[in-house]
Amino acid sequence: MKQLLYKEFKLAINPLYYLVALLSALILIPNWPYFIALMYFFFIAVPNIFATGKASGDISFSVMMPVRKRDVVGSRILSIIIIELLQLVAAGVFALINSVMYPGGSNLLDPNFAFFGFAFIMYAVFNVIFFPMFYKTAYKVGIPVILAMVVAVVFAAVVETVVILVPAVQVVLEAPQYIGVQLGVLAAGVVIFIIANYVAYKASAKRFERLDL
């Protein structure tokens, strides 16, 4: 597993895609739907990483190594999770700067703890749809990535819409006196992210094991 992870970062994933994390700088835009800053990860990085993998014969190479097939899936999912976390850490830094720059907040959801809770859920939604669909063939990237992307975008759009339409929700998600609720959303987001990834791994590994390569 350790060796496969090394392979992911040494051979399979072009370091260029870590730079997508820097697009979190878009969080510095005032009054903006900040989820978009986090979406570039699955707009750019995921389709490219998987398409490159296909072109470079990554899967046929990996399964030849003395490893279990499910570890090939596990290492790839783990490496994507690592890049997602990198993206969120970078976003966290820019969110801090945002809170200093715009003390009055924005009309949409501010990049606070609750925002990051929803961001974790957005990535969870993407992962739990994309990975099991992709590993059904371990070849077709297009439809799985588009479907996962659409559902994740719809999720973020629903959150933002509710924030705009229901002022009480915005108050609870942003006002300092409700920090407990906001931290609760973050915690729930992390828990959902962990569970969704575990489910995504289990389902993907099971489907990949069944494939004739």
Binding site: Y6, K7, L11, G57, M64, V67, K69
Partner: protein, 288 residues
């Protein structure tokens, strides 16, 4: 000692069926795995490694059940499937740096020795290697992790005659000390005349024969006769071709009838393959 034992391997696809494939490869020998394109060579090799799920059958490597000891046994297997075409844009050194971490028995000194011997420059990108060099690189990796069983899928196809000859000599060198075995698939029968000790012949998913090269050739005879002889001998022939003077056909040596005016001679491997393939084609026509 059995290096590789395949027993009753079955795999059914919609239009193709691998039927009861069984053969054994002893330690210290080279086995050529021949058959036409689509006969089931690659499917068999992939099933051995568990990349294709067989419907039934058993694989054992060095006396151990492969399915139960997959991780440990894969450490001892060197492989090459359809050329080294992974990570074409990467340098050999980068690929090696990844591969070596997977093998407990990796020997860097041996790796350097092989690079030198095969004249490989590890700063080259995979895509810059010729087909012959790609095979040598795959062998270098296998030798460096002390593989004992080499599974090579068509290592000689695409090579020029000089590179092919060189590679076949190398195969013989590899098994000289008796610790390694090579199973390589090919459809180029002259490869086998040069270096195979055993030949396993697969046709349309079924093993026709798995014998020493000499025994396989002794099993068959090419018979030539006049047109009027054909009717009598036809049921015994595997298949035949008619021409203006009469016919030429392949027959099992045991089925050779006495008292006929026939010329019977030893076939080449190519002839054995061609006449078996013709039989399959004739059968299919008959069904239609």
């Amino acid at each position: 000692m059995d290096m590789l034992k395949v027993t009753n391997l079955n795999k059914r696809y919609e239009k193709f069926h691998l039927k009861d494939v069984s053969f054994t490869l002893d330690k210290g020998y080279i086995m050529g795995f021949i058959g036409a394109n689509g006969a089931g060579k690659t499917t068999t090799l992939k099933s051995i490694l568990g990349l294709v799920h067989a419907d039934s059958g058993e694989i054992s490597v060095l006396g151990n059940d492969f399915a139960q000891n997959e991780m440990a046994l894969k450490q001892q297997i060197g492989f090459m499937f359809g050329g080294v075409d992974y990570y074409a844009k990467q340098r050999m050194s980068a690929v090696t740096d990844v591969v070596r971490r997977f093998y407990q028995t990796w020997d860097d000194a041996e790796y350097q020795r092989c690079l030198k011997k095969f004249d490989l420059d590890e700063n080259k990108k995979i895509e810059e290697l010729s087909d012959g060099m790609k095979v040598k690189y795959a062998l270098t990796l296998a030798l460096s992790h002390k593989a004992e069983l080499f599974l090579l899928d068509e290592p000689t196809s695409g090579l020029d005659p000089v590179a092919r000859d060189e590679l076949l000599e190398l195969f013989q060198e590899l098994i000289e000390d008796g610790d390694r075995s090579i199973l390589f698939s090919t459809h180029i029968t002259s490869d086998l005349e040069k270096c195979a000790d055993f030949i396993t012949y697969i046709e349309n998913g079924r093993i026709v024969a798995s014998e020493t090269k000499d025994d396989l050739i002794a099993m068959y005879r090419i018979v030539k006769g006049a047109k009027n002889e054909l009717e009598r001998i036809r049921p015994n022939l595997i298949s035949y071709k008619k021409h203006s003077f009469g016919f030429t056909g392949l027959i099992k040596t045991d089925n050779l009838p006495g008292g006929m005016d026939l010329v019977a001679e030893a076939p080449t491997l190519e002839e054995i393959m061609i006449y078996h393939a013709k039989k399959e084609a004739d059968n299919e026509t008959a069904v239609i």
